[in-house]
Symmetry: D2
Subunit: 292 residues, 4 copies
């Protein structure tokens, strides 16, 4: 549950790496950084024994390096080639841009906006898109743009073309479904690989699809949960980023489950978003590595 | 973890009782209710073996009774006298009125207002009072009155006289300190016995007083917490209503503790408030009985 | 999470009731008790709004009544008939008898035996039956009988006839599958309705059947769980009594999941067993009411 | 919550490091390892911004290195000197030796022995010492030596001299107080710096000293906890290794708290012990770094 306070203020280059595991990787990477005077502020790594892949995330104080992320990438190419690294270098001083998709439920959206305004989520939110007009006043209050794009059963593709244009126009790094009650067309999913995340209101893989709290009530489970996952064309089956559960009992009605669930949903989404914004989430096949 | 959905819609009379324990109490109370055709929708009770006191909370469907709360009380007087009951009857259709006191931190206040607007917290909020002007825009958005009452070191009593006038003018049943960063004068505490609650940002009795997250960091605890308690003249020593904890680790700075703590604080306050609004909290000396 | 200490020592009659909900039930029941001088030490009730059924559990101090459980039942028949009550009266001074079925994994069995020996689980354990001989020494140490009944693919029914004979011979009220790695024949399930419970090593309904931790690992979930449920002929689909979850992360191998899971399994089983032994679990269709 | 399964089987050298933070440390350490062909199986690090110290723990596959822990240490001396490293190299194939001190309560002791026997805790347990004879049969069953050393109020130092002789004779790396109900003399604490750990039955710093569950009950807290900490001469004030909490409510008696607390105690102790045995706990002044 690592998180990161005061020298979060100091700008960093965040290097994330994935490659076939072998000996010498960390020495090569940190040797490269040290040879340029780089100060490693934080580092975490993982060797996956089932897939034989290695993952690492390193934060280097930006001021300690004589160059920025682009030149870092160019100079690092030799190391990357030798170790067959997939890598990415990001500047923590350039916040990611996220577009939120919402419907009528306001709790996840309101929570993200609240955290963003406090500075707890470091990102830019150029736009909120909704298939209903209800949440416009809330979004307005935060000084964020709101676009109402109705989604009908008939011209769904067209609606999502319009949404895609908005997402692209906003320069979004990430699309966040904040209780967006529409199933995305496969084409939309394919357009933003690893760039769409959803908060699902059940502890997946239980209760896929619609009305999961009703399903949970019927089954008589003693805890309910929520799941933040990458969106892939298969419904609610993408790699899981974060989950949590809360206790219920026989006296809780479906309405109680909905209410208790809202708190889990927004907590899970907030944690996942923070990790995504800080490049702490790496894909490992159908699973994720989260350097929390 | 009981809570209450659909027929929460139906109006109820909520009877809360406290008395010396003996045999026959429940029969007498429920016999009285049944003799008037009352339908018990929910009931909970507790016998405290250390103090010898009995506590009960009963919800009766209002439509099942031929009278309202006042007449209930009058007719019930005989039973009450026989069993030496302290009791209270409230009409769930008459929401309590709460006045919130806040300072600069917005997370608890914003959370309460959000839940209130959704209808998750059934109450009226006529007024928010703050010793700083910062949160006025937030409160405005919800259409709630905001009053800025500065509290200086010198004329503190005067300031709290003004606050008391506002609280009384608003007809408040409950005063909620939503991260209000002022120690209340004893006279103010005495004026509202069992009617002021505070959310303290530590797991009491650890880390009483100022800067509890800094204290927690110094001590190196592995979980932090928050506590909602009744306010009494002794600082952070009133009866505890609700608490919770969250895990931290060595990588978390004081700023991380503050951030993680904010989520615990608002969750604990929200649960406690819900229970208070539904008359689920009974005092038992220095402790509470919570029929959650 | 209610549980019950010191005057747990005092013998009680435990009345459990289930019936169609209507007004006057509690008054009738507690009136009956009071008319015989009964002292209600603990009581809990639940009205299920979806099924319209009422559930209650009452503990009466045995010494306060002029009769025992049989006569209580006889005298109570009138009330029961009027309100169409299904009811049961048990004497807390007569501990239930449980037979444990285990295989090779010792953690659940060892935990139950440990708690039983300490007196934390008030029951008699006349017998442990296993399809492997491995755990005999452990069971011996506790002075409990152990019977090895191998279960082959071929003569499975025969094996379970032998087990049924042992269960019946031991006068078991409850059969507890403590990580018993055999699917019970339908005939065995049918022989002991509502009298067999299992601890399943996943958070049901996820990961039904074999190797649930492997399934959880493959899916990349961020928490794992365990479930104690009544056994019905449909695999892992019986009414759930208790569940819990624990956090895992990407660094945890399947072996780690197995290890972490063992702790959840034994904790969930222990809580469920305590509630079963104290008659706190009532069936409500496919779900349970647990007066914890 | 990282833990480590399958290639836990493979022997490793575990390097733990603490030093003033500066740039180039990781490159130097991993460069040294890589220069000898070492395969890093796991690594974690922490920069403490308040103290300016750096901490690292690295597991190197033993077979990938041409030398063992002693020669590793000798060759590493140059790096260590340059960066002013405090370091330690341990061979995971040489399990630590722990001596357990217990009194009459068996739950922590029984749990540790159970996990040890299963192989979940990789250590050797040459001896259990108790000031009461009660637990001898339990310890016997595991084939472990048991010594009864009574501790009177009068000749306490003598008793602890005898215990120290037993601890030393057993070649113990670690002394574990498994609900040992004696306050250790300062001389005993001083003899084993950073080598004695205790499980305290409260969520420290609340409820130091005797009868913490009674204190918790009196204060009316809504969760109770347990704490595993290093033992220092000041009572219950040593660096905290692990803690956890569990929910209670008004219906729980002190006896319930004791019972619920036993489960937290053994869980907290088990996690802490696992980390200690795997060299995952580093001291950082009055706090700990735990590379879990």
């Amino acid at each position: 549950m690592t998180n990161h306070g005061p020298h979060g203020a100091a700008r960093r280059l965040v290097l994330t790496v994935s490659c076939p595991d072998r000996s010498g990787i960390v020495a090569a990477i940190t040797g490269f950084i040290a040879s340029h005077g780089g100060w490693v502020a934080e580092a975490a790594q993982h060797s996956d024994l089932t897939t034989g892949r290695f993952f690492q995330r390193i934060e280097v104080l930006a001021d300690s390096l004589p160059f920025g992320p682009e030149e870092f990438g160019e100079r690092f190419a030799g190391v990357a080639e030798e170790f067959r690294l997939d890598f990415q270098v990001r500047d923590s001083g350039v916040p990611k841009r996220i577009v939120l998709l919402a419907s009528r439920e306001d709790h996840c959206l309101a929570d993200v906006l609240h955290r963003w305004r406090r500075g707890d989520l470091r990102c830019e939110i150029p736009l909120v898109v909704s298939n209903h007009p209800d949440l416009e006043a809330l979004v307005d209050w935060y000084g964020i743009g709101f676009r109402h794009v109705p989604v009908g059963a008939e011209r769904k593709e067209e609606a999502f073309d319009a949404i895609a244009a908005l997402v692209d126009g906003a320069g979004a790094d990430l699309v966040v479904l904040a209780r967006y009650m529409q199933i995305l067309p496969a084409s939309f999913c394919a357009r933003y690989p690893e760039r769409i995340v959803n908060i699902h209101h059940s502890f997946l893989p239980s209760f896929v699809g619609a009305r999961p709290y009703h399903q949970a009530f019927e089954r008589g489970v003693k805890l309910i949960g929520a799941t933040c996952h990458y969106v892939t064309p298969e419904l609610d089956a993408g790699p899981i980023i974060e989950q949590d559960t809360a206790r219920i009992d026989h006296a809780d009605s479906v309405q109680d489950l909905l209410r208790i669930g809202r708190d889990i949903e927004r907590a899970v989404l907030a944690r996942a978003l923070r990790w995504l914004l800080e490049d702490r989430v790496l894909l490992n096949g159908a699973r994720t590595v989260v350097f929390a």
